[in-house]
Symmetry: C2
């Protein structure tokens, strides 16, 4: 079973990296870009494991290591 | 129009960050994780713009700034 995890900063948290990318894009002529938010994308291979168990494991991994839940939120897809 | 961009390392490129995450997960008891690949997830707000034009712009942004096409590949979603 493979999992895709998306970790993003919470809406209320400032994103200086995103701001820097927006300014870089703007200086390159892409003025239509109003906002940029940077996040992490993580692909995990969980081997042979049941979906319900995989879901539980992934949630635990996100809370303990992959995301800082104070400032970040996460979502995942399993297939 | 909003765009979601996913930038990942090419399959043939080693991912030391992913390896480190895998080892950290393993040391925490998540031994079922066979492989981890780290990537970037970028959300862009393009304002009021046509879909075909947005697609063209996003592709150009990825090739010029957001992804290093020598070692990375990208895909995007518009909505």
């Amino acid at each position: 079973m493979k999992a895709k995890v998306y970790v993003t900063l919470k809406k209320s948290v400032l994103d200086p990296q995103g701001k820097a990318v927006q300014q870089a894009l703007s200086s390159m002529g892409f003025n239509e870009v109003k906002d940029v938010r940077m996040g992490k994308y993580i692909e995990l291979d969980l081997g042979a494991i049941e979906k319900t168990q995989a879901e539980q494991k992934i949630k635990s991994m996100c809370e303990k290591l992959l995301a800082n839940t104070v400032i970040e939120e996460f979502r995942y897809e399993l297939n």
